[in-house]
Symmetry: C2
Subunit: 109 residues, 2 copies
DNA sequence: CTCTTCCCATCGAGAGGCGATGGAAAAGAA
DNA sequence: TTCTTTTCCATCGCCTCTCGATGGGAAGAG
């Protein structure tokens, strides 16, 4: 009966894009990084992560390439495309717009 | 091809509950108020609003009563229950938790 | 009498998050 | 050597939520 959402719906793409600004990463690493930066708050399950990455690939926001991880395992590395960088800007702005609006409601009553 | 979401998914219940703290309102009024307070940013369509209100009713967060609007029209007035007030607190806190985490990611890279 | 505004509500589509599931391969423990 | 843990990939099906389309009905303005 508990609805434990570890993620704010509609923000996952934005989060992934942002993390990838730093540089190429594999999926597992992205999830870990999000968790770490957010202080264990943002917990991206693999069944949310990989579909999201597929979306980003399909839209051309990211590119993927197979390689070896730091732990010597087969891993798929994702990289932000120029288009993805642009998209990040768009989504970020839109997000802030929404948050500002919501906060107004939460403060104004 | 444009996906113009006028709402951050998963926040509608919270917004409605918050608006109802002020007092009893009918559905149409709630939508108008959200739009006004948010500076026209939050545009709640009726096909999002009424299902949401049903949810809230079902969960016992709000109560409904038929009456007449300021414009002398048949309207259903929604009122926050004690349970709803409690729920508002929960959702609000959870929301802030999420936002804080997301902002960290957006700033920390 | 018609048009606009106000007010209710549902349906079906599409999207997105998530639990469950299923691999596979490396490293270390037993 | 065998077992378990950790890392890494990915999909399927369920469910929830948002939203465009649709369909009223009643008040007031023109």
């Amino acid at each position: 009966m508990e609805k434990n959402s570890e993620l704010l719906p509609g923000t996952l793409d934005l989060l992934i894009l942002k993390v990838l600004v730093r540089g190429t990463m594999h999926g597992y690493g992205i999830a870990q990084r999000l968790k770490a930066i957010s202080g264990e708050v943002l917990q991206v399950g693999e069944s949310s992560l990989y579909p999201a990455l597929q979306r980003l690939l399909l839209n051309g926001w990211v590119e993927a390439e197979w390689g070896a991880s730091e732990n010597n395992r087969r891993a798929r590395f994702y990289k932000l495309t120029p288009l993805g960088r642009k998209q990040l800007g768009v989504e970020r702005q839109e997000f802030q717009r929404m948050i500002t609006a919501i906060q107004k409601v939460l403060e104004t009553a």
